[in-house]
Symmetry: C2
Subunit: 134 residues, 2 copies
DNA sequence: AAATTAATGTTATAAAGTTACCTTGTTAGC
DNA sequence: GCTAACAAGGTAACTTTATAACATTAATTT
């Protein structure tokens, strides 16, 4: 978590971050809103603004294929986060993998492209949900 | 394109596939609808249903981070398509890369996960749009 | 031809995200 | 302490994206 402890978050940012931290899976913006209505939040924009700044601070990631957000795994990474998503139980894990990141760099450079925001989201079945083949 | 020539598409499927083929970039569902209103289509669902079946047939991919669809590059691939997306000019290219696919397999197996639908979308700047460093 | 399956048509509605405009706090120079 | 500059917040209206529900028609199989 590096110095995420020392992050000075505004009220709404802190509320949204806290809600994401306590969730066991990524959460959608309107779900966050529902939860945080109890704390006085009223409009989608309050959620979206908080999420945007938390992403800027690199403590939250957006899952493009789920329209949902989750806290960073705390690996203090510069490279692309890799999300492994079980379509059965909804479990999501964040991985950091230098090999995959090298591949992304290679593919990009080969075509003169500058990778700025690589998105890797692997859908499938986790160990618990996969049919056992024994 | 393998035998995409020989695909028997229904009327709506053919219309949507044709529209995507002629576009130079991925196209959103409502943009497709606007275009195809001239051909009698009227409702979003007609577009979404056609897209769904075209994806099933593996001739179209959805770009999760763009909410848009594009035709397959015709590489007749089993492995994950990798999209390289210029956030400046909107250009999108599909790549197939065995190295990256091996990384995805490795990461998955390591945690007992079965990858079924890997999503890789690399945002950044293409060669034409990158600031030249000379 | 009857049964089955795939594709369509249409309306209404849900879910996700943004624009516009205005108000309130916080910080930094004076 | 005053004030300019800026970051954060509040609210309403709205746009964009996607799906549910239900009825109909076309193509395929038996
Ligand atoms: Zn992370
Ligand atoms: Zn699972
Ligand atoms: Zn493809
Ligand atoms: Zn470009």
């Amino acid at each position: 978590m590096r110095d995420k402890q020392h992050l000075k978050l505004s009220k709404n940012q802190a509320l949204v971050y806290e809600a994401l931290s306590q969730a066991s899976k990524p959460v959608g913006a309107y779900d966050l809103l529902d939860q945080l209505k109890a704390h006085g939040l009223k409009a989608p924009l309050q959620i979206y603004r908080a999420l945007e700044s938390l992403i800027e601070l690199k403590v939250v990631h957006r899952l493009e294929s789920l329209n949902a957000w989750t806290t960073c795994c705390d690996a203090d990474h510069d490279s692309a986060p890799i999300f492994v998503i079980c379509d059965d139980c909804g479990d999501v894990k964040e991985h950091i993998d230098t090999g995959l990141n090298r591949s992304i760099e290679k593919i990009s450079k080969r075509s003169g492209f500058t990778a700025e925001r690589p998105i890797v989201e692997i859908h499938g079945r986790c160990g618990d949900c996969s049919p056992k083949t024994n």
